[in-house]
């Protein structure tokens, strides 16, 4: 009984089979390896044969960052019948994303890629962009450096901190004691900018307001996010907001604890019907549709007809506000609407000196007035006065 043979294959047959499989694999790999050049040549032609790949770091319906992008991608692909949309969700910020992108280019013939997570950029997008100079990479973030990074890489990002500023106004005018909380993933510039703008918005209507920050350490930490909201509720924080991949847990936990919240990424009113005040939402649909219109007209990053840095805020429709919740007073609505109007006519400057950091130093000098496009803001490494927390580890 010990020499049971399961499949009745001789050793010779097994070896032959393995050789055949390997040989087939090699030819298949080589065959597809040739395709990007031909696809790249065709890319200049127009919308025909345009294959666009989207890569998300989490699931596409997470009430958050990924959902906002996926909705934008779906709206874009609905607007162009000739564009082929390929998507891959839950791709970690490791070499896994290189394989995903390589697969999209080699196998699906993608000519435009949108890797939508911050950590994809360096080194993954950069290394692949050098390898495939005909493919255009649009990275969601603010990391592009002129002259240093490959010519076929562009970065786009919305000044969603404008919407956070408005959220801060609403939060500070609704909270009795002006104590706000912020659940943040990592102390990187784009997160710090949201925290600071939220705080500056709050202090613009209520100078004694404070914002308690809790960093969870990563983009999706469900239990730590829930613990953070619970701890802040214990400490008497009245309104929480967040910058994590999926705000669902933060909003639901806040609602359960009976405190108020302002949303992020997408509309979360349905998660917290009582406590939801307003929220900062992305508006990627109009941006993606506009960008793909340009690409299908033959414009590209490489010949400079599409700028490498694409930016915009409330006015350029990169982001928008959620509708006001039931708890928001008319007074708060009026203050928020006034701020929105200033953003719309371009007269609002959030980082207008002097602004102190929370260690007593000067973050923005009195003579400075940093407009949203200022690169100094993309390298933010401080928390403004009133924020309780630290960016050191």
């Amino acid at each position: 009984m010990s020499s049971k043979r399961y499949l009745n294959l001789s050793r010779r047959q097994v070896i032959r089979g393995m050789l055949a499989t390997t040989a087939f694999g090699l030819t298949a790999k080589l065959g597809t390896g040739c395709s990007p050049a031909s696809n790249g040549a065709a890319a200049g032609g127009g919308a025909d044969g345009l294959t666009i790949g989207f890569i998300y770091v989490g699931p596409k319906d997470d009430f958050g960052w990924n959902q906002a992008h996926a909705e934008g991608a779906a709206a874009m692909s609905g607007a162009f019948s000739s564009v082929k949309l390929i998507e891959e969700a839950s791709v970690p910020e490791t070499t896994a994303v290189v394989e995903s992108m390589r697969g999209m280019i080699d196998i699906d013939g993608a000519n435009v890629l949108f890797p939508t997570s911050f950590g994809y950029y360096d080194p993954h997008v950069l290394s692949l962009a050098e390898e495939y100079p005909d493919v255009q990479f649009f990275h969601a973030g603010g990391l592009y450096q002129e002259g240093v990074h490959p010519n076929n890489v562009g970065s786009y990002n919305g000044y969603i901190d404008e919407a956070q500023y408005v959220s801060g106004i609403v939060a500070a005018m609704t909270a009795n004691a002006g104590r706000l909380g912020f659940v943040a993933a990592k102390p990187i510039p784009s997160v710090l900018r949201n925290i600071n703008s939220f705080m500056l918005g709050a202090r613009s209507v209520r100078p004694e307001a404070t914002t308690q920050v809790v960093f969870t350490g990563d983009w999706a930490e469900p239990i730590k996010e829930a613990e953070a909201v619970n701890s802040m509720a214990d400490q008497g924080i009245e309104v929480v907001t967040c910058h994590v991949d999926s705000p669902k847990i933060v909003m639901e936990t806040a609602e359960r604890r009976g405190i108020m919240c302002t949303g992020y990424h997408a509309d979360q009113l349905s998660l917290a019907p009582n406590g939801y005040l307003t929220g900062a939402e992305w508006d990627w649909s109009s941006f993606y549709t506009k960008l793909v219109t340009d690409i299908s007209e033959g414009k590209s990053l490489m010949d400079g007809s599409i700028p490498h840095m694409l930016r915009g805020g409330l006015r350029e429709q990169f982001c928008k506000m959620s509708a006001y919740g039931a708890a928001v007073s008319d007074e708060a609505k009026a203050a928020a609407d006034a701020a929105i109007a200033q953003f719309m006519d371009g007269s609002m400057v959030i980082y207008d000196g002097e602004i102190k950091d929370n260690n007593g130093g000067v973050a923005v000098a009195p003579s400075e007035s940093l407009k949203q496009q200022d690169v100094k803001l993309e390298q933010m490494n401080y928390l403004v006065e009133g924020v309780i927390g630290s960016i050191g580890s």
Partner: protein
């Protein structure tokens, strides 16, 4: 200030609440793993079982509107995964650790695949038992909302201890785990005992998943387990395969999880990455302290991890 702030008292409160909130999944998974390992097999696949349990609980609760059906579905889906592991890992020359790793990938992959439609909707959550009186501070009231699943786990731990020590069935499991040859001489089917132990253990781990998705944090996302299934396996080792020790260890780990956020919210500004790593540092520390090159671990089932297949 209009609202009552707890200040430093928030830290012990958060840890105490965290032990009950965050410790529940650890408790179920470690009890399940304890039962499995007592019979002489390791099931690393409980990480996948946890995810599958969380997904099925959330999905069923959402579709039927009854969270208790969800808990049952979580247990059953766990038992099915356990049956696969139990059968595979008992084939000749099959290594149970390798099968376990395959089961992690299978369980989590299946859960992600089937769970796609449930990420967005909100499912009915399990009711909580409120132990606080209305006069207490709201923070204390929130901390004292206890899940019935936690109480269930609290009851299962001593019950399992008694089961191993004082019942005939418990003796069979211990015999199969310690000395399969002796068990076979007694006329006990090694295959059946291990199969049932693994299935029952996976049933418990599935319920642990239900605690994640229906109680705390109470959502279904793909990151919900964040390695808790694997940590619970390590937890069984330093709990010395003792169900009551599993209980204390689970509470400790649950509490350690809430340390980082709680300290930040009272204004401890430095070292939050260190505090977030607290459970892992704790694991390492306990492993280092309890390991010795001179003796094997007390309480380890004799046949654990060996390929002691009784030829039936």
């Amino acid at each position: 200030m209009a609202t009552e702030a707890l200040g430093w008292w928030g830290v012990p409160l958060a840890i105490a609440a965290g032990t009950m909130r965050g410790g529940t999944p650890f408790l179920f998974v470690s009890l399940g793993e304890c039962l499995t390992e007592k019979s002489g097999k390791i099931n690393l696949g409980l990480e996948g079982t946890l995810l599958m349990g969380a997904m099925s609980a959330y999905g069923v609760s959402y579709l039927t509107g009854s969270p208790w059906f969800g808990v049952l579905a979580a247990g059953l889906s766990g038992a099915v995964l356990g049956a696969i592991h139990g059968w595979l890992s008992q084939q000749p020359r099959v290594n149970d650790v390798a099968v376990g790793i395959a089961m992690i990938i299978f369980g989590s992959g299946l859960a992600f695949f089937l769970g796609k439609p449930f990420i967005q909707p909100s499912a009915t959550q399990l009711p909580t038992i409120n132990l606080a009186s209305s006069g207490m501070a709201p923070a204390v009231q929130a901390a004292l909302q206890i899940s019935p699943l936690f109480l269930l786990g609290l009851a299962i731990a001593p019950l399992m201890q008694w089961f191993f020590r004082s019942t005939r069935w418990g003796l069979f499991i211990r015999a199969v785990g310690d000395s399969p040859e002796a068990a076979r001489a007694m006329g006990v089917s090694i295959f059946k005992v291990r199969m049932l132990s693994i299935m029952a253990g996976s049933f418990l781990a599935g319920i642990g998943g239900a605690a994640l998705s229906l109680y705390y944090p109470g959502v279904w996302t793909e990151r919900i387990s964040s390695g808790q299934g694997l940590m619970a396996v390590a937890l069984v080792i330093f709990a010395r395969w003792n169900p009551m020790a599993c209980l204390w260890a689970s509470l400790l780990f649950g509490g350690a999880q809430s340390l980082g956020p709680a300290l930040q919210s009272v204004g401890i500004r430095e070292g939050y990455y260190l505090f977030n790593a607290a459970p892992y540092i704790l694991t390492l520390f306990i492993m280092v302290v309890t390991c010795s090159p001179r003796r094997s671990l007390v309480g380890a089932p004799g046949a654990l991890g060996t390929d002691s297949q009784g030829r039936a």
